[in-house]
């Protein structure tokens, strides 16, 4: 366990180094044009996300999803979740942390209907 924690610590320090060397361009979220498609599965634009923040009062990822369908499609937010949260945070002028993340929904991983069951 202690060994695992040391490894985790190493990864953490490496991630911090990466974040310092390549700072996240948070300002880009507010610079995105309104017609930029954020969620490709459901064709939700940055403008639509800003509208649900401004008009419907969404301040949280799942609330924005309920109103706009952002992250509701096949990828379930795997591609758009972070970008959507950045736009919500920028539009609502709140930190990313309080936007939260999309709740997982069943089926957690899309499967073909004929995917065989694993042998017991």
């Amino acid at each position: 366990m202690a060994g695992l924690r040391r490894r985790l610590g190493r990864y953490g320090r490496f991630a911090e180094g990466l974040a310092a060397a390549f700072p996240w361009p948070a300002q880009q979220a507010s610079a995105l044009p309104n017609d930029a498609v954020v969620c490709r599965c459901e064709a939700v634009t940055a403008g639509e996300l800003r509208r649900v923040v401004a008009e419907a009062g969404a301040r949280e990822a799942n609330r924005a999803k309920a109103f706009s369908r952002v992250g509701m499609g096949r990828c379930q937010g795997r591609n758009c979740g972070e970008a959507g949260a950045e736009i919500i945070a920028a539009a609502a002028r709140i930190p990313m942390r309080s936007v939260g993340r999309l709740r997982g929904q069943a089926p957690v991983k899309p499967l073909n209907i004929d995917t065989p069951e694993a042998p017991q």
Partner: protein, 248 residues
């Protein structure tokens, strides 16, 4: 009277920001009443926001139909009323009965006759006419009653759209305001939130859905409720498989 007490007083105090509370607030504002609405979480996030979205009159108890018909007239102008698209579509509603219980055909017919008297038109179908119209019905279905003017709306947006329009109309809506206690105090009802805020009004409307009993019991008027959640999956938007909603 202190300033804060004045802010927290209104003609009507509504507890619960689901479809019932939010729509009541909207129409009370249109009639000139001052309205405060308290919602324990976020507007429309419980049963009002996570249901099938059926907007249906067929099959309701007959005594409810006059009210349901009035509601249908409101649904038809909902987007204009609220200034928002609630995705209301009159895609129809089919009620079926099975070969195993042929006596139900007579019940469907009797219901359709009574419904007609209230203004709800139902069309009874059987045999080839039914199968031609609703090819998806299996061989065990004996007869069907079709309501063309029932449909569905998007439950995730309806109650919030009502609340937004109610606020634009001058009401005050507090989200994350959980009412712990209600009481009658002289002329007014008082609602005490668990964070200490107090609201009062001469009229109190409890529209707290599954939590209603917790409040009505405080006036010695218990309304026992059983909470049951239907299983539901939300897909990506796809073309209609079956256009009308189907029920038994």
């Amino acid at each position: 009277m202190t300033a804060s007490a004045a802010v927290n007083a209104s003609d009507v105090l509504i507890v619960g920001g689901g479809l019932v509370g939010a729509s009541a607030g909207f129409f009370l504002r249109r009639r000139g009443r001052s309205v405060t609405l308290l919602e324990s979480g976020l507007v429309g996030r419980q049963a009002s926001g996570t249901n099938f979205g059926n907007v249906r009159r067929q099959g309701r108890p007959l005594h409810q139909l006059p009210l349901a018909n009035r509601a249908n007239a409101i649904w038809r102008q909902m987007n204009e009323l609220l200034g928002a698209d609630v995705e209301y579509l009159e895609s129809g509603h089919v009620r079926v009965c099975y070969r195993g219980s042929p006596e139900h055909v007579g019940e469907l017919e009797a219901y359709a006759q009574k419904a007609h008297e209230t203004g709800l038109e139902l069309e009874l179908l059987s045999g080839d006419a039914m199968r031609w119209r609703f090819a998806f019905l299996g061989p065990e279905v004996l007869a069907a009653s079709y309501s063309a003017c029932d449909g569905h709306a998007n439950p995730r947006v309806v109650a919030p759209a009502f609340a937004c329009a109610t606020v634009r109309g001058g009401a005050t809506v507090f989200e994350n305001a959980r009412v712990a206690a209600v009481e009658k105090n002289g002329e007014d009802f008082r609602a005490l939130c668990d964070d200490g805020r107090v609201f009062r009004a001469p009229v109190l409307l409890i529209a707290a859905g599954a939590w209603g009993n917790l409040l009505s019991s405080q006036f010695h008027e218990p309304v026992p409720l059983l909470s049951r959640a239907p299983t539901m999956s939300v897909t990506e938007p796809v073309p209609y498989g079956l256009k009308p909603a189907v029920g038994v």
